[in-house]
Structures are given as structure tokens and as C-alpha cells.
């Protein structure tokens, strides 16, 4: 029995032709973002049902290709595809032919021979998703490329903010910490600015990229700058991406003392987000991480429905707002 599923009608902007890929937030318009968030809300409502699986992408193939370690992103893409009834294949670099020196291009061509509808890729090198998009016929979703972009993280962060605060426009988000090494920060800045939020970057000057104000954000080295933010978005200190001896900060101890997000530095009601994985006691005080104002688990839940929406949006050609089954016929 096919459960009766419809995407809820909302006040939606006019539909654009479907996009081939999601490589960067830069690829999206504000209309695109609003459509994706609305679609995610519909899936969120569907997820409240006892029977969570939808037939929407039955017969479609989604390949998850992860060259970097991941818990949240890989599991949520996998579950998102499964919830939509797609066939999912998850490949991790460790244990694959990558260990034998196979190039990314050859790995992509090999998988392309199975005619996947979507390839979700995470890779340490900036430009890897673009290469996969260029050599395969699949829709490509960037699940994080080096320090460049992580567009589905930004979408799930927008979704979380929208659900918690009821709006994105005009919300003040302070992004705190290691912006330099953070693809999450870059995607979030673009997405938040696109949707009319105000963004302030806070952290040591050595970890704030020179020239980043051009993206439309403010910059401060003073942790006091988080005081009037509605949302404090804490970034992970990405020690694995830092070159040895690069001296970004004198010590983690000094970093934590100056820029650690502690209960004392927050005011009640200020929401706290973190893309995970957290270094408790470094960039975020454990009391903050566990407080009711922390939205970290909400972010993970949002990740599932947002990634369902992204897959849906790439693979269905009918406008959002018509019954899914009808959309399937068009597709």
C-alpha cells in the first residue's frame, strides 16, 4: 500500500528549472533556498508518521562517495536516500581502490558506469565535486570539499534557525572560531547573507581569512561581539587541517580562555549551534553544549529532512507543491 503523501502547499516562489548539481551555496538563489526549506518542512511532517518511508525516489540510485571521515553527513545522506526509497550505495575511500592509487576521475568513471542518479561526494580537496560533475552524468551533491563548501550543512543550519526563531531575515548570527579552515563557515555566511541574516565572525585574527568581509559579514577579534547575537554558531578547531608549526594560536589553552563559548559569555535565550564534531572544553564549554539553548541535535535532525529535500529537488522535475506521485510520473 502506497501511503498517501503530498508535498504541502505553501506560499512558494515560482519554480525554476531543476538544477543539475548542488556544489556550492553560490549556485542557489534565495527562491531556491526557500523552496528547499519548504520541501524539507514537508518531509519533516511526513517523518512524524509511524511509517516513515516514502516511495518518491523508488528506482533511483544514490551513491555516497566519502573520501574523508564523516558521521553525521554520511549517515544522514544515506538515511535520506533510504527514506525516499532510493537504492543507496555508500563507498568510503578506506578499503576501496583509492588505497591502490586510483585517481578520483577513475573512481568517478567506474561508478558512473552504474548510471547513478546522484553522486554525493566528500573529499579533502577543493574542486573534487566539480571534477566528478564534469566526468559523470549524475547529479552531484557536494557533501564537503576541503575548506571550500558544505552546502547541505548551510541549508540545514538555515532550516534549524527558521524552525527555532521563525525567521532568518534579520536574525543576527555570530560565527565563532576557526573560520579559516571551515567550509561550514563559508557556506553558512553565503547562505545567511543570501537570506537576509546579519553575520558577525568572531575569532583570532590568524583564523579569520583576509578579505572575508567582502562576503557581506562583519569581523571582530573580541568574544564580546557575540553579546547581541540571536544565534552563536561555534566552529570546531580543525586541528587536522592546520599545518604543523603554523602558529595560528599560541595554545589551545589560550584559545579557550579568549574565545571559548562558555555560559558566562552567553545570555539566557541565546541559541547555540555547532556543526559537530565538538571539541568539548576547547571551543565550547560542555555546559553550553548540553544546555536547552543548544540546537545541536535539532541540527542533526534537520540534516535528514534537508538532505531528503535536496535529493528530491534534484531528481524530480515537477514543481514542488504537486503530489509526489504526480511528480514521479513527470520524472
Amino acid at each position: 500500500m502506497t501511503p498517501e503523501i503530498t508535498i504541502m502547499r505553501e506560499e512558494l516562489p515560482p519554480m525554476r528549472p531543476p538544477r543539475r548539481h548542488l556544489l556550492s551555496i553560490e549556485d542557489l538563489t534565495r527562491d531556491d533556498v526557500e523552496r528547499l526549506l519548504a520541501t524539507a518542512r514537508s518531509f519533516d511532517q511526513a517523518s512524524q508518521r509511524e511509517l516513515k518511508k516514502l516511495p518518491t525516489l523508488r528506482g533511483r540510485t544514490v551513491v555516497n562517495l566519502f573520501f574523508e571521515s564523516s558521521t553525521r553527513t554520511s549517515s544522514s545522506f544515506e538515511l535520506a536516500a533510504k527514506r525516499l526509497s532510493a537504492d543507496v550505495m555508500s563507498i568510503k575511500a578506506a578499503g576501496s581502490s583509492v588505497d591502490k592509487g586510483e585517481s578520483l576521475k577513475d573512481t568517478a568513471l567506474t561508478l558512473n558506469a552504474y548510471d547513478p542518479d546522484v553522486i554525493v561526494i566528500r573529499h579533502a580537496a577543493i574542486g573534487a565535486p566539480q571534477l566528478v560533475a564534469a566526468v559523470t552524468g549524475a547529479h552531484v551533491v557536494n557533501a564537503g570539499d576541503g575548506k571550500h563548501q558544505h552546502p547541505t550543512q548551510a541549508l540545514l543550519d538555515l532550516y534549524t534557525i527558521q524552525q527555532e526563531l521563525g525567521r532568518i531575515e534579520g536574525v543576527h548570527v555570530a560565527i565563532v572560531g576557526d573560520v579559516l579552515h571551515s567550509r561550514v563557515a563559508r557556506s553558512d555566511i553565503q547562505a545567511l547573507v543570501l537570506c537576509g541574516a546579519r553575520v558577525t565572525l568572531v575569532g583570532p585574527p590568524t583564523l579569520i581569512p583576509r578579505g572575508i568581509e567582502a562576503m557581506g559579514c562583519e569581523v571582530s577579534a573580541d568574544i564580546g561581539a557575540i553579546a547581541d547575537a540571536d544565534v552563536v554558531y561555534v566552529l570546531r578547531m580543525q586541528r587536522e587541517r592546520m599545518l604543523e608549526g603554523a602558529n595560528y594560536v599560541p595554545s589551545l589553552r589560550e584559545y579557550t580562555a579568549r574565545w571559548g563559548v562558555t555560559p558566562e559569555r552567553l545570555r539566557p535565550g541565546q541559541k547555540v549551534m555547532h556543526p559537530g564534531p565538538m571539541n568539548r572544553g576547547v571551543e565550547i564549554d560542555p555546559r553550553v553544549a548540553d544546555s536547552p539553548d543548544a540546537l545541536i541535535e535539532a541540527q542533526v535532525r534537520a540534516g535528514l529532512v534537508v538532505r531528503m529535500a535536496v535529493l528530491y529537488d534534484l531528481l524530480t522535475h515537477g514543481p514542488v507543491g504537486v503530489p509526489v506521485e504526480a511528480a514521479m510520473e513527470v520524472a
Partner: protein
């Protein structure tokens, strides 16, 4: 100092071309006759003497080009380029002489390696080629090479190109010793502690894309150091592939202060900026990186006013599979020999940023003088080093058309204006197109 395959010299008449030699101060529609490889007569309505006649009507005849910065990848990476393929590519680009860099495998740091290259060039070089030798053994930056013996074996100059001479002490010694060799020292200016892990110019674009930046000062602090050392030792110095406005300012100041410093700039730095890196195309990845709009403007201005006297392609062939990777994993470098004139004619001359005569001078006499080579010129008695250019002809840059063994060009697929119709190098016709 230059080596080429021995071939019989040419008898030739180029009829009715616009002869344009900025050095000789010639610009007129004239015939040029070459007898046995030497320019024998210049004038209107010359006798052909039963020589082969090339119709130059509507074309520009100029002194052929000199490229002071080419990677021939030989020895070691003959799959990417050989002396034969690299000089054939240069001939197609209108060049009559090129200088090859020593960062090969093995590195050109001994007379033995240099002599074998010279022998190789005498057997297969289509146009004259000179070889720069390393400043330091293994380009390791610790010990000087035997510069005297290398010069005797035919080294055209000295450089550790591909990397900087990190130690100021060693750089000073190289400058002090260079008069013994009688050759110029050329430097790749980069302060490695400022460029660790760098992928592109540090600026707004790198901030947005997330690449580790190579700041302008990563080049210019080394430019300033090397100019100070050259000034102190009163020795000439050549600064390779300058990219940053700050470097140009330093060079200009040093020249005004009497330092015998010359500088070169590449076609890609003159035509592109870091905005072009947004494509994430591995063929816009090079060292030094493409810089900002202001830097590009400063380079063009320096080329115009002569602060920079030479255009150098920094032709850097790479195997296709090595560039067919994500931008961040790709090696630095692009090819340029076959496209330099057309690219600059299209992007600088056509929009009026620079005069054709200036471009021709900076591609020919300028680089020749910087390395103490005889500048090509169109004058009776001079060896015939000529390029016949169709400045209005458009063509599309296609991978299959390259004579180079590599096709990592930033111009692939682009339509350019300006074609080389004929190249004469050292008195022989080396290219007709």
C-alpha cells in the same frame, strides 16, 4: 650559449609586409631579402634573386621572439616535453630562441648534465635553445654549483627556478661569484614561510573559496631582499615571473637607485586575475598565482613603461592525468609557447592596453638583453630571426593542435586573434602556418 640542430641556411624574400622593428625604429611596408640565413637587403621592390618568395601583404614582419623562461622537462619527464617538441612548439609560437630551466630530473647542476643536454639540442632542437644551470647543487639551497665550469660548458645563466634561494647568505655568494661565470643570476622570488600550502593569491577570492592564500608579500619581500643583495654586490639580477604590484614597485625603486635589475612577466599574469580561479580549472593554477586586478594593472603599466623588459611564458607542461585532478591536488604551471603572442595580442593590444610595437619589443629584444643575448633585429647583416604575423586572423585553441607534448593551456577552447604565419630562426625557416 645557444644550441640548435645544424640545418642549411635559407634564401628567402618576404614581400610587401609591414616591417616593424621597434629597436631599429623601422615601420614601413618593405621587402626583406635573406641570403644564406643573413638579412641581405631591405627595401621596396627588391630583386628576388630566384629566392623563395613569401607574400607578406597585410602581415607584420617583426624580429622573432625570445622566451627566457621555458620548462622543457628534459631530462626526466620526456612524456611531458622534449627538446624536439618544446622547440617545435616555440617555433610555432614565433620564437627564434628560448632558455630552458634547470629544475629537471636530474637537475642541471653539473657540466656533465649540461653537456649532454647541449649535445641533445644539437641533434634535435628546431630553434636555438639555451640552458640555465642551477644556482645551488640539487637546487637544495645549500652549496653553490660549479658556476665557472657550467658557464664553460655553455650555461646561459643561473637559477634555482621552481623554488627560491632561501638563504640570503647563499644568494649573496651566488651574486658575488656570478662575474666569474660571466652569466646572470635569475631568481624565483618566494618566501616559503609565507606561502606554505598556498594554492592561489590571498585575497577576497581565496577567502571565499577557502584556499590557503599566497599573499603578494610572499613574493615581494623576497624581491626586496634580492634587489638589496644585488645592489650591495653591484651585480645584475633578473627577477622571474613577477606577479605582485608590490614587487613592481620594489623593482622600479631599485632600478631608479642604479641596481642593474631586469624583470619578466608572463602572458597569464598579464591577461587573468584571481577571479578566474573561481572556475576551479586546474589550468589556471600556477606559481606565482594569478593576482588581483590592481596587480594586473601594475604589470601592464610596468610592461608599458619598461620597468619590466621581458615577457616570459613560464611554459610548464604537465601530463594530462596530473592536471585532471581536483584543483587543490593539481601541480602548478601552464603551457604558453604556442599561444603567447595571440593571447597578448587579443587581451592587451586589441583593447588598446599596450601598443603592438611595445609588445613585440618585450617579446624579443627585451628578454634577449636581459640575458646578454644578441637581440633579434631586422637590419642588413643581421642573422635572419623573423616572425611574420597575421594580427587580424582569428583561431580557436584546440588541444589536438599543440606541438607541445602537453596541453595544459588556460586558453583551451578560446578564440584568439593573431596568428604566426612564418618563423625564421638563425637563418632557417622553422615554422610555416
Amino acid at each position: 650559449m645557444l644550441f640548435v640542430k645544424a640545418e642549411p641556411a635559407e634564401n628567402l624574400v618576404v614581400r610587401g609586409a609591414r616591417v616593424l622593428d621597434p629597436v631599429e625604429g623601422v615601420e614601413a611596408v618593405l621587402d626583406v631579402r635573406v641570403d644564406a640565413g643573413v638579412i641581405a637587403a631591405i627595401g621596396a621592390g627588391l630583386d628576388t634573386n630566384e629566392h623563395r618568395v613569401v607574400d607578406g601583404t597585410g602581415l607584420v614582419l617583426a624580429p622573432a621572439f625570445v622566451d627566457p623562461h621555458v620548462h622543457l622537462r628534459t631530462p626526466g619527464r620526456e612524456d611531458e616535453e622534449t627538446i624536439a617538441s618544446g622547440t617545435a612548439a616555440a617555433a610555432a609560437g614565433g620564437y627564434c630562441a628560448i632558455l630552458a630551466m634547470p629544475n629537471t630530473d636530474p637537475i642541471v647542476d653539473s657540466a656533465a648534465v649540461l653537456s649532454s643536454l647541449a649535445e641533445n639540442a644539437r641533434a634535435e632542437a628546431v630553434i636555438p635553445v639555451g640552458f640555465l644551470a642551477a644556482i645551488s647543487k640539487g637546487q637544495a639551497g645549500a652549496e653553490l654549483t660549479e658556476m665557472g665550469e657550467l658557464a664553460d660548458a655553455g650555461a646561459a645563466g643561473f637559477t634555482d627556478d621552481g623554488r627560491p634561494v632561501v638563504s640570503p647568505g647563499l644568494m649573496r655568494r651566488a651574486l658575488q661569484y656570478s662575474p666569474v661565470a660571466g652569466r646572470r643570476v635569475a631568481v624565483h622570488c618566494e618566501e616559503p614561510t609565507l606561502t606554505r600550502g598556498a594554492q592561489m593569491h590571498e585575497g577576497i577570492v581565496s577567502a571565499e573559496l577557502g584556499f590557503t592564500g599566497y599573499p603578494s608579500v610572499g613574493e615581494s619581500v623576497m624581491v626586496e631582499r634580492d634587489l638589496s643583495l644585488a645592489g650591495y654586490e653591484a651585480q645584475p639580477i633578473h627577477l622571474m615571473h613577477l606577479s605582485a604590484r608590490e614587487s613592481i614597485e620594489a623593482l622600479s625603486r631599485a632600478q631608479a637607485g642604479g641596481v642593474a635589475a631586469t624583470g619578466e612577466v608572463t602572458p597569464h599574469h598579464l591577461c587573468l586575475t584571481d577571479e578566474d580561479v573561481r572556475s576551479l580549472d586546474a589550468n589556471v593554477k600556477m606559481n606565482p598565482p594569478l593576482r588581483g586586478t590592481e596587480d594586473r594593472a601594475a604589470l601592464i603599466e610596468a610592461l608599458r613603461d619598461g620597468t619590466i623588459c621581458a615577457i616570459a611564458t613560464d611554459h610548464a607542461p604537465h601530463a594530462r592525468h596530473e592536471k585532471d585532478v581536483p584543483f587543490e591536488e593539481a601541480p602548478f604551471g601552464v603551457t604558453g609557447l604556442e599561444t603567447a603572442f595571440a593571447a597578448l595580442n587579443t587581451h592587451l593590444v586589441a583593447p588598446g592596453l599596450i601598443a603592438l610595437s611595445t609588445l613585440l619589443e618585450r617579446m624579443s629584444a627585451g628578454p634577449a638583453r636581459a640575458f646578454g643575448l644578441e637581440p633579434p633585429r631586422i637590419a642588413v647583416g643581421a642573422p635572419a630571426n623573423l616572425v611574420l604575423l597575421d594580427t587580424g586572423s582569428a583561431w580557436r585553441v584546440l588541444e589536438d593542435d599543440f606541438r607541445s607534448r602537453s596541453a595544459n593551456s588556460w586558453l583551451l577552447g578560446q578564440t584568439l586573434k593573431g596568428r604566426v604565419r612564418l618563423t625564421v630562426a638563425a637563418g632557417r625557416i622553422v615554422f610555416e602556418g
